[in-house]
């Protein structure tokens, strides 16, 4: 397959989006075209997935000069890690379209397409300036989505989330420039490819720490890691379903991915040195957000905290310095994206139908919407980590990883899983199962379209839970490469 297929995957949604923007006003046509585009992208990614040879290296590389006076290239490619995430994005987005099918406007679909370009672009970028370019570009459509289609104090929310995330990424920008300048002064030419930046040796310890923190600021805000999470509450509450889905199940994962892709290779020694702190931070976030989720009445807010809680767990896995933790974290990225994405979309349906998201006001949904309840339950169990689901495999691997890293922390992480189970199941009992006296909420069941949309997710939940090897095989070599080679470099520095 030609290497340009990656560029095609990245830019097709944006090109279609601009085309639709200027041509038609018919909302249905826009939606159908947008959906078709995501299906084409999915087909291409599937083909890519099958052709990908499991190895540590980067494949399907395109490297063209972009701003040559500063050595900035249009340099894209996939390895096992990014391929897995790419696959996830390509499956999740079209299915989410099916669940958002009715009642959206033209701008909504166009923004969804633009986000896809930003997300895949930053996922596949191997030049850090190019990555930054896509990273910022994907923010803008989300900004518009929240501002135009959100609820409540949406203006304040959008400004807050934008300033917050841009503050982080601009700090990263300084770090990127600093690295570029350092590279130039050491090697005599400009380059922003991460493989080149890895070779820098002239940074002193303090500089490295500052740069590491600047990068972390950008990614930790996006994920979000405690204590940089304050933007998510309002955002997840006031944003429209599509934007919440994108933020929680896709963009947050890119924050995690970026840590693996750029921070670990460039600063392996700092990564090793401070790993203990980050594991502790991750576990603390896991517990903190878990307890916060227990206290929520609004389902969407509860999922927001639960999502943050799981993402803290993922970051703990990444910093556990061994292949178990890293594989588990990657696996949880996928598992969490599926479960949380589906749950947010399902809550979106509840909100559209009943007009409320409050756990106290809901109840008895299971009676009128049995299929809905079944799928909701499956996603819930996957999220909680019930054996047989993908959540179980990933949490188990991370707990192994943390245990190997430090026994005490391993025990703690194993215990914390209980918190997740308790708030989720408690909510499920109150909002879905338990009957309301007298009044009955008329919740419709899922339409056939929506069931079709959710079916691949359900299949994935079980397939990944029962037979994880077919997926882990694809990214395992890359992870092993990371753990072995990069940590060795870190030990030498």
């Amino acid at each position: 397959m030609s290497a340009d297929v990656l560029s095609f995957i990245i830019f097709l949604p944006a090109v279609v989006a601009f085309g639709l923007l200027v041509t038609t006003k018919n909302i249905e046509a826009v939606r159908n075209m947008a959906f078709l585009t995501t299906i084409v992208v999915l087909a291409l990614v599937l083909k890519l997935y099958l052709e990908f040879e499991p190895s540590e290296g980067i494949q399907f590389v395109t490297n063209a000069s972009w701003i040559s006076s500063y050595g900035i290239n249009y340099y894209i490619g996939v390895d096992g890690i990014s391929l897995t995430i790419l696959m996830m994005i390509a499956i999740l987005i079209p299915t989410s379209y099916l669940l958002l099918w009715e009642g959206r406007t033209k701008g909504y679909w166009i923004n969804m397409l633009l986000v896809q370009t930003g997300v895949t672009g930053s996922l596949l970028s191997l030049d850090i300036v190019l990555f930054y370019f896509f990273w910022e570009v994907m923010l803008l459509p989300v900004f518009l989505l929240i501002g135009i289609y959100g609820f409540g104090q949406k203006e304040f929310t959008t400004i807050k989330v934008t300033v917050y995330t841009m503050a982080g990424s601009l700090l990263m920008f300084v770090a990127v420039l600093y690295l570029g300048v350092t590279f130039n002064s050491e090697f005599g030419y400009w380059s922003f490819q991460y493989t080149d930046l890895m070779r820098i040796t002239t940074l002193n310890y303090n500089e490295k720490i500052w740069l590491f923190l600047a990068f972390l600021a950008a990614f930790a805000i996006k994920i979000p890691i405690f204590p940089l999470h304050t933007w998510i509450m309002e955002t997840y509450k006031n944003a429209p379903t599509g934007a919440v889905f994108l933020l929680s199940s896709i963009m947050a994962k890119l924050g995690v991915y970026a840590i693996i892709r750029f921070m670990i290779p460039i600063f392996p020694d700092i990564y090793v040195e401070f790993s203990m702190w980050f594991v502790i931070f991750g576990l603390f976030g896991l517990i903190y957000f878990g307890i916060a989720a227990l206290m929520q009445d609004d389902i969407k807010r509860m999922f927001a905290y639960s999502s943050a809680s799981h993402l803290s767990f993922i970051s703990a896995g990444i910093f556990s310095l061994n292949a178990y933790g890293m594989n588990g974290a990657l696996y949880l990225i996928i598992a969490h994206a599926i479960a949380t994405g589906a749950l947010f979309l399902l809550v979106g349906i509840i909100h559209d139908e009943t007009g409320t998201k409050s756990i106290k006001k809901l109840g008895g949904l299971a009676k009128t919407a049995p299929i809905f309840t079944v799928i909701f339950a499956i996603m819930l169990f996957a999220n909680v980590g019930l054996p047989g689901t993908n959540g179980f495999v990933s949490e188990l691997l991370i707990i192994f990883g943390i245990y190997e890293f430090n026994h005490t922390l391993g025990y703690i992480s194993a215990l914390t899983v209980i918190i997740g189970a308790s708030y989720m199941l408690w909510m499920f009992q109150r909002a879905i199962l338990q009957d309301r006296d007298g009044e009955c909420l008329n919740m419709r069941d899922l339409k056939i379209k929506e069931i079709i949309g959710l079916t691949p997710w359900v299949i994935l939940v079980f397939l990944m839970g029962i037979y994880p090897d077919i997926f882990i095989d694809k990214f395992e070599p890359t992870v092993t490469h990371y753990i072995n080679d990069i940590l060795k470099i870190g030990a030498m520095k």
Binding site: S68, V129, E155, V163, L170, G180
Partner: protein
């Protein structure tokens, strides 16, 4: 190269101003005619300036007549092109505005051409007094244009403030020139450079003081701290399109001369200013940001934010002392700012030309529903001003910050980034107003005709802003603008300064 070809552009502009002056005696010519005539002259001038852009050259033109006071080189040519281009865009983007404001008569365009003449002369000046005369020609034309709206009560304050302060600061410049003359016995930049490179220590004291006084003028004209206080009132009182002209094009002219001075002639004494400039960059960024955040009127917000952009430019200027690459960054940033600021100011002037209601942030509510195209273009310009990727403003900031860091000013770069973060707040607030609110009924204007020259020019600038940001590597099929080619042109033009 034939010396006469080189002076054709500036002569064309001068001819244009005289022709327009003569035409303005007759009542039968409409404003539209004046715009057309002026544009034709500008396009001719632009054609000739681009035509001479084939090789690096440096010619002290007709030295027996002008006594080396004027220099024509690739560097000045580069700036002439920008200045003519900026003026042409201002004229065309303001077409709608000019037609709907009765007070814009033929004389106005004469003055605009004189201002351009002064600015090109400034870019070509190789001598302190010539530069002063050129600066004053341009400044006086701008003073007149600031006060052109006879209906607006704010204009008296604006023109008075600007005229008095501007003339006052001009005296500093003259004093500086006198001191330099006292030390070096010359006002010619080339000879001053020779003097500076041959002397040191006490011999240079007067030069230091003189240059510092000249620096004051520079800081005043570009509205850097501590001379920034006039900006808000003057920009507010001036007709919108003139504000655009002052913010973008006039600033380029100032930079053209001072870049020449800094690069070519006084590079040895530049270290003397480092600590002063360091503080000035910080204060300019801080004050500009503070002013911009607190504004409720969009025009004043843009004016205040132009102070912040001056801060970025000064940062690149400061880095100039350490590495010459910063000069290219400055030049690129000037282009980026020209496009985005002209776009933003021009677009607002286009919107308010039929009505005068869109003044505060609140008035921009729901613009996206009323005029989706203009709102989209405004968004592009604001994103570019904020330095968001995929716009030319991002690449501009990228260059400036990279050079600042390589010159060892990492902490200043961090401060500039923080100013950028805050700027996201005030620029995005306007975008939020346009997109996230229902339209404000009192601000709607009926029968707004969008098929006009101004609209097309806005679209053109919008396209340039995007192309300058992503370049031709990502948009494979449009090889028009390449970010690298702008930089290599800038490099080439700077080299022409060192032809002896």
């Amino acid at each position: 190269m034939n010396e006469f070809i080189l002076i054709i552009p500036i002569l064309t502009v001068l001819t244009a101003s005289i022709v327009l002056m003569l035409l303005s005696m007759y009542d039968k010519f409409s404003t539209k005619n004046f715009i057309t005539v002026a544009s034709i002259f500008l396009i001719i001038a632009l054609g000739f300036s681009i035509g001479t852009f084939t090789e690096i050259y440096s010619v002290k033109i007709y030295s027996d007549i002008f006594n080396n006071a004027l220099i024509f080189d690739s560097f000045s040519n580069f700036f002439s092109i920008l200045l003519i281009f900026g003026t042409l865009l201002t004229l065309l983007i303001g077409e709608h505005y000019f037609l709907h404001r009765k007070y814009f008569k033929g004389e106005f365009f004469t003055i605009l051409m004189f201002a351009l003449f002064g600015m090109i002369l400034l870019a070509n000046a190789n001598e302190l007094i010539t530069a002063f005369i050129a600066l004053e020609i341009a400044s006086f034309s701008v003073y007149v244009m600031v006060g052109y709206n006879s209906d607006d009560s704010k204009r008296v304050e604006a023109i008075f403030k600007y005229l008095v302060l501007g003339s006052f600061i001009g005296a500093f410049y003259l004093l500086g020139s006198v001191l330099i003359y006292g030390a070096t016995q010359t006002t010619n930049l080339t000879e001053i450079a020779v003097y500076i490179s041959n002397h040191s220590g006490n011999d240079l004291t007067l030069v230091y003081i003189g240059m510092t006084l000249i620096l004051f003028t520079f800081l005043f004209k570009i509205a850097a701290f501590p001379f920034q206080s006039w900006v808000l009132d003057v920009y507010r009182g001036a007709p919108m399109i003139i504000t655009a002209y002052m913010a973008a094009t006039f600033k380029i002219a100032i930079f053209s001369f001072f870049l020449r001075v800094f690069l070519q002639d006084i590079s040895n004494v530049i270290d003397f200013w480092d600590s002063i400039m360091y503080v000035l960059v910080i204060l300019t960024l801080v004050f500009g940001t503070w002013l911009a955040v607190s504004q409720k009127i969009v025009k004043r917000m843009l004016a205040a934010s132009s102070i912040v952009h001056t801060g970025y430019l000064l940062l690149a200027f400061l880095a100039l002392g350490q590495n010459i690459e910063a000069a290219y960054a400055t030049m690129f940033y000037l282009i980026a700012y020209l496009l985005s600021a002209l776009g933003a100011f021009g677009l607002i002037s286009h919107i308010i030309s039929e009505t005068s209601v869109r003044v505060t942030f609140e008035d921009f509510k729901g613009l996206s529903k009323e005029r989706p195209f203009l709102a989209a273009m405004m968004t592009i310009f604001l994103l570019s001003l904020a330095g968001i990727p995929s716009t030319i403003g991002f690449i501009g900031k990228f260059h400036v910050f990279t050079e600042a860091i390589s010159a060892g000013f990492a902490s200043l770069a961090v401060l500039a980034i923080i100013a950028t973060i805050v700027s996201v707040y005030y620029y995005f607030r306007l975008i939020a107003m346009m997109y996230f609110y229902p339209a404000n009924a009192s601000c709607e204007s009926q029968g707004f005709n969008d098929k006009r020259v101004s609209t097309y020019v806005i679209a053109f600038i919008g396209v340039l802003t995007i192309l300058g940001g992503i370049g031709s590597a990502i948009v494979f099929f449009i090889p028009v603008i390449n970010i690298d080619s702008i930089i290599s042109i800038a490099q080439m033009t700077v080299q022409s300064l060192f032809i002896k």
